[in-house]
Symmetry: C2
Subunit: 127 residues, 2 copies
DNA sequence: ATACGACTTAAACCATGGTTTAAGTCAACG
DNA sequence: CGTTGACTTAAACCATGGTTTAAGTCGTAT
């Protein structure tokens, strides 16, 4: 099994080392091993967990939620129902956010079109 | 022309009055009129501008960016090119963010499926 | 030997985006 | 007349999510 240093993990996922340390301190990355000098060793399992953290972060789950999820993973199989429910809820929240952004983007597109055509016919106000 | 009070604007867009005041203080809502007692009066134009602020906020434009856009609106037609460029750039940023969220959602969906089927065949690690 | 680079820690610091508080003004209602 | 409700202000406060700093340890290359 190959292990990664923090710099390799940082480079692989393109996030600062300081952020990885911060995540560990916040409990998002439990069970990270250390070498004989106290340096973090990321196993493939840990790299997968880090990728999961990033994935949840990309979809705007708060730190507290990610921590809860990670705590449940560590607890083991008896938390699968809880994790399933959490991911289902999160999925709905993400879909709602994407829908809101997509809707807002329509209005932005409308502005772009208006600016491109300079359609100011007196009905449009200031914008 | 009908005017709205801050409480009506708050109710219409479902955001706290304190947030509207904060936006005005930050320069996102310029030229708001006042009645003889100093209370804010939102014209239809102002309501449209507030909706624009909310739209940009929904798509995660920072306050500083929204302020720049509003400043350009106040400046008038000579800033149309700048506004067009800004909205085009912002649109690309929003599309990129939606793409990232959509991609991350795929991984979440994969977890959901795995939890539903309880497919733990020894190759999956802890999750 | 020493200096460099990669790492460690705890704690301080920072930006962003609001929210809350305290103190006050005004108009209308009982 | 007084109190209630809707509003005003400036300033303090807060949560979130990191980032930076300072001081130190280790292994390796010169």
């Amino acid at each position: 099994m190959k292990y990664c240093s923090i710099s390799e993990a940082s480079a692989k996922f393109n996030i600062p080392e300081s952020t990885i340390r911060y995540y560990e301190k916040k409990g998002l990355l439990p069970l990270i091993e250390r070498d004989e000098n106290g340096r973090r060793l990321f196993s493939e399992n840990q790299m997968a967990l880090l990728e999961t953290v990033i994935c949840l972060k990309n979809t705007h789950m708060p730190i507290s939620g990610i921590k809860q999820y990670m705590d449940w993973i560590i607890e083991g199989d008896q938390t699968i129902e809880l994790r399933l429910e959490m991911m289902n809820n999160h999925k709905q929240a993400v879909l709602a956010e994407i829908a809101l952004m997509t809707e807002s983007l329509k209005r932005i597109d409308f502005k772009i079109t208006r600016y491109q055509n300079r359609n100011y016919n007196g009905e449009e106000g200031l914008e």
